[in-house]
Structures are given as C-alpha cells and as structure tokens.
Symmetry: C2
Subunit: 400 residues, 2 copies
Amino acid sequence: MANCIVAQSGGPSSVINATIAGVVKANQMNPIYETVYGGLNGIEGILQERFVDLTHMSEEENRILRQTPSSALGSCRYKLKRENIKDFEKLFEIMEKYNVETLFYTGGNDSMDTVAALSEYAKEKGITNRRFVGCPKTVDNDLQHTDHCPGFASAAKFIATTAMQTWLDVNVYTRQEVFILETMGRDAGWLAASACLSGIVDLVVLPEVPFNKEVFLAEVKKCIDAKNKCYVVVSEGVKYPDGTYLAAGEAKNDGFGHAVLGGAGNAIKNMILESKTAERCKVQDLSTAQRCHASEQSLVDVEESFKLGMSAHMRSADKTFTGKMVGVKRKDQEEYDVEYFAIDANKVANFVKSFPKEWMLDNYRGITEEAYKYLRPLIMGSPVVIYENGIPAYVKPYYM
Amino acid sequence: MANCIVAQSGGPSSVINATIAGVVKANQMNPIYETVYGGLNGIEGILQERFVDLTHMSEEENRILRQTPSSALGSCRYKLKRENIKDFEKLFEIMEKYNVETLFYTGGNDSMDTVAALSEYAKEKGITNRRFVGCPKTVDNDLQHTDHCPGFASAAKFIATTAMQTWLDVNVYTRQEVFILETMGRDAGWLAASACLSGIVDLVVLPEVPFNKEVFLAEVKKCIDAKNKCYVVVSEGVKYPDGTYLAAGEAKNDGFGHAVLGGAGNAIKNMILESKTAERCKVQDLSTAQRCHASEQSLVDVEESFKLGMSAHMRSADKTFTGKMVGVKRKDQEEYDVEYFAIDANKVANFVKSFPKEWMLDNYRGITEEAYKYLRPLIMGSPVVIYENGIPAYVKPYYM
C-alpha cells in the first residue's frame, strides 16, 4: 500500500492547517494510503527527507489543529524551477524511497505552479504512479477559478472586526481624526475591500486602480468637513499611475521577485498632513497579525478548508488525478452553499484574480452591493474555541 | 429624587463600557437615582450639557454594551485644573440644574485627580449634596492600590494571544528571523510583560529598567545562535539610561504633557540590523488595536468591570461617599477571587504603579513565576459573543 505526503507552502493563514486536518481525517475514514506523511517546510524540507507521521492523529489533535493558525508543518518560499532538473529527479527519488504516490500541496499560485510542473515532469517521463494535487490557500484571495480561497475569509473577518473596533476607538474624542488602516494585498484589493464589511469605512484605496492623489485628498477633505473624522483603508500594494508603489521608499524583494511592501499607510498619512487636509492622522498597519489572528476564524472558512482537504484526498483515489487543484464553487442560489471541483493547476498558476473594478464605487467611497453579497456569507459563524490557560490551544509546530 | 451622571475619560479599553453597564443595571435593581445620565465626552461634554438618558436601557442593550469596546459615551483628555475655578463653578451649576447628586467617572490617574479635585472643591465650599466617585480603567494597569485595573486583562489577553499567533507565523520558514512585538506602556511594563503569558517570548524589554543596548544585543545573538530565531517584546516607553526614549525620533506630546510614543520596535530593529546581530527583523506594532480589540475580552475582566460599576453605584447611596475610587482587591487565597473596596481618589491620582523589578528576570529573559501567578487568573474565560452579520454586535456610540 502506498503513502502520501501533505505539505504547505507560501505565507500562512488562519485556516491552512484545516486542509491538512481534512486530508488526515479522510484517510482515517478511508485509508487509501498506509501512511500520511507531513512534509516539513514544503518542498524545501521534502527534498531533505524531513517528515512527520500524521496518520493516526487523534480527533482532539485534529480539532486543535483546525483552530491553529499558520503552517503547522512549516512553509517555504523555495520555488521548483523547471530548468533545475536535479530538484525534480531528487523529489521523484524520495517519493519512490518512501513509496509516496500522492503529494498534496497547499499554497497560492506559486504552489499551484509547483503542482503543475511536477505533474508535467511525470507525464514527460512516462511516470504514472506519482500524483500531485494542489489545495488553494491564500489570505489574498487572488487565485483564479475558485470562488474564493481558504484563509481569505478569516483574514477578512479579522480586518472587518478590527476596522469596527478601531473606528470605535478613534472617534471617542471630539477632536479631528483621520485613521488609516493598512492591510495586505500586493496586487489584489480583496483584503482591503473586506474592511467595508464593518460598515464604517469612509474611503478604501485598492491596488487595482492607479492612485489619484488629488481625488483622494479631496474626498478626505469632504469627510473632514462633514464630520471632522475620516476612516481610510489602504492596501499595501497601491501604486501611482507611473507604477511606483505608494510605499516605494520601503520596497524590497522576496525570493520570488515580489516586492515586500509596507508603508502605504504612512505614505497616505504624510500626504494628508503635508497638504494640510487634516491636522491629525493615525496609522494602524495590521501587518503579520491579519494572516494569523485565528481569534477571528470564520466558521465557513474553517469548514471549507477542512472539507477541501478531504475532497482532495477522496479524489486522489483516482490514479489519473494529478496536476489538479481542488477549488470551491459557489452554488447559484440565494442561500450560500458551495461545491468542490477540480481544475488543472496550470490554469491557476501565475495568474492573479483582481478585485473587480465594477465592484468599486467611484472616488474610493467603498464597494457595491454585489461585492457585499459576495463577501458577507464568507465571514459567517465562529467555531467554538478550545482554550488553555486563557489563550487558545494550538498544536506545537510539527517542524520544531 | 436626584439624578446621577456616568462619564468616561482617557484612552478607551475593551471593557470600559461594562462599568457603565454596571452602574445602569444597579440603578435598575435599586433605583436610588431617578435618571442615570450618560455624560458625553467626559467632563468636556458635561460642561456643554451634552447628556443621554441611560436609565431604562434594555437587558439586551446592556449585554451588547458590555461586549462593546472603547468609550461608548465618548471620552476627553480635558483636564480640570484646580486654578481654573470657572470650570468648577460651571460644573456645579450644571449638576444643580439637572439635580445631579453623583458623578461616576471612569478613567486612569488623571481622572482620579479630577474626582479628588471636585470633591475637595465641594468640601471647601461646604457643598454636601454633590458626590464624585471614580472607577478605575486603564489598559496600562498602572494605578496604585487596586490589585489591577479593568481593561488591562483584556489587553493582556489580546497581546498574549497575538504573540502566540505571530510566533507561529514567523517561525514557518527555515530562515533566520527576529520578530519584534511593540506594545503600549508609557511608564509601566504590564502590557509588554503580559505577552509572556503566551509562553513563547524570548526577550521582553520593559520601561522600568534603563535600556542596556549591549546586554540586549548579546541576548539576541544568543537566541539566534541557539535556534536561528528570536521573539522580542518591547514596551513603547523604554528609555536609554540618559532618559531619552528609544523611540525618541517619534516623540510628540499629548494634552497632558505625556510623550506620545511609537517606534521603539523600529528602533530595536534598526540596532539589530545595524549591528549585524541578525539579518532579518520584522516589527508588529499592536498600536490602537491592543486597547480596543474586544475579540479577546477576558471574562474575568468584563465581569469585574461590570461589578465595579455596580459596587460604585451601591456605595453611593451613602451620602458621605465622595472623593473615592472603587478598586479591586485580590483575596489572599489559592483560588482567584476578588472583593471591591473604596479608597480616597487623591491617593491614586498622579501616581504610577510600575511592574515590579523583582518580577523581571535578568537580561530581558522574561518574568518570574510570581508575575505569572499574578497575571494568569486575569485572562481566564471568554464571554459568549453576540454577532451581527459575521462581526460582533456593538452599540452605536451614544455621542453620535
């Protein structure tokens, strides 16, 4: 009987572990694999044969794993490059050595590219007993074809909740206040837009539209004139029409050639103060917390992430199921419900799903009713949390 | 029958409204006041006769008020100065006009000074039918005599939870990482120290001890050498031995002559990178969220804050009860429990309770078992949260 590996890649989320929990649970319900290995630190650790055995995880551990944010198996930003044939050969050797038939890989579009590349390589070499299955995961919600990505909804719920809470905080004095909430979102505005679910956002600045300073400052002024307050949400990836980031002074590079951003909020603060549009301006950069603050896990999100892992496992019983990503399809009906489906990973890899321009109101004034209709069901429900000594109980990372 | 006013001052907290809810509920249970006015924006709004009537608040609104962070009545930083006799005269005129016998004022030590000053003024003028009662509230936990301050525990719980979550996030890659969590705490290290409740903090830098750069960097290096990671928590108010703030470049002033800080985390990041102690360093400044992120309300905290409001109301039936603050006294027994007591507000005003030096381990390595014994019971329990459209239901601010 063959084995499988589950592994995680890219930036963590609040529910990424639920997908792992789903694969493990599905195999306990129908043990098509003898051993479910957890591959540590993604492809990077698998190439070093760093595994843990997750096969017989207890129900209690499975439950706590589902509420544990961040990648319990560790992650990597190591990209399997098609020209680096040695990595491919090594990986297939390791799979053979451990009798691994299927590799489940959770991640964003770089990880789906890895899934596509590995299955293409197997096909080219005529290898038929190695399968590669992608599970989407990204707080950025920027993957194509899937209605949304596990991880996004919980980040959205955290952002909307924190927006509401900081709005309550910043308004308590009679004095003039501009508050700027900075969210993640390198290329797509999904996270920043989700702050609007709080119902208190005055202006939201998304990366999909080149930033118009004059229009923006005029809108801030209108708010200040009307109520002496202005609540702004800005995505880290907002750019000027010439393509430079608002946060340009801070921009660096990560391993994939993506800019590492931060500072769009401060850039906006400075332009508001320098133009004397307002006298006071406060910035909250949600930073790392927004992708791991599992206290706001959405029940919909955790359950979908778990079921997506189960679905990937169940589908992999089909020996031809490879090079696929399992996605979420929203049913075309009034009440929110989803189905799971599979799509070629190469149709997902390296594409970005932007926040639709037709869902944005003019002049940064928020999002349309259609956008709300899309976003609202995703943040519904809160799981019952297991606590230990006053803080949520989390599994000790398997890579430690 | 006379009336009372409840009002809020200073920076908000996650449970400050529970004290208001307690005063209102106590008066419904024993209506010693005909009307419970909510004074808007503290003394500032009371002097402008800006009131709402809270007397007949429904149980549902009371419950939602208890889970609503920040000051629902609005706040102020307006300080009643003893030399500004006009303000005193005006306030007593207004109290007479509205037949207000008792003013309940929630706040930190500046607010307790207001309570003390008003009751002294009444005594000097021989006014016997106006009473002033303080209710402690500060996330900083820096008030004397009371075992702890309502608001602190929920902020501590948020900080400890977020420390754990961001630690899980920052460790997922195999690369070297230093993570710096910056907390509030201008003069006292209670909030930064509470991050240790997560059990994952390597180094904690508190404002009670002058900062020793060499010792600190040597400790960071030890961590890096041992495990390639280092998790640091720093309080915004940390100073060099010469008294300048680490965040000195950023320091400004608020209305009370306190420095407005921010940037200690970045200062530490810069010294770590410049000294080449580590290659990578990430900062999360918890900023505004830490005092209003009610998603981590501690049940102990909410209930104490509520009961403290009730206790203040009940004690005020005594016509001589004025110039007092109601505090929390921890029972001297194994199992955590508290009693409420009253103390002269002038014994609390303008003093700061520091985090005890004997509770700090040497070289920033954390806090003692005695400190844990003090902190742990405070963050226990989580209230059942009422949600609306996927985010917690909060009362609309009364000042709007």
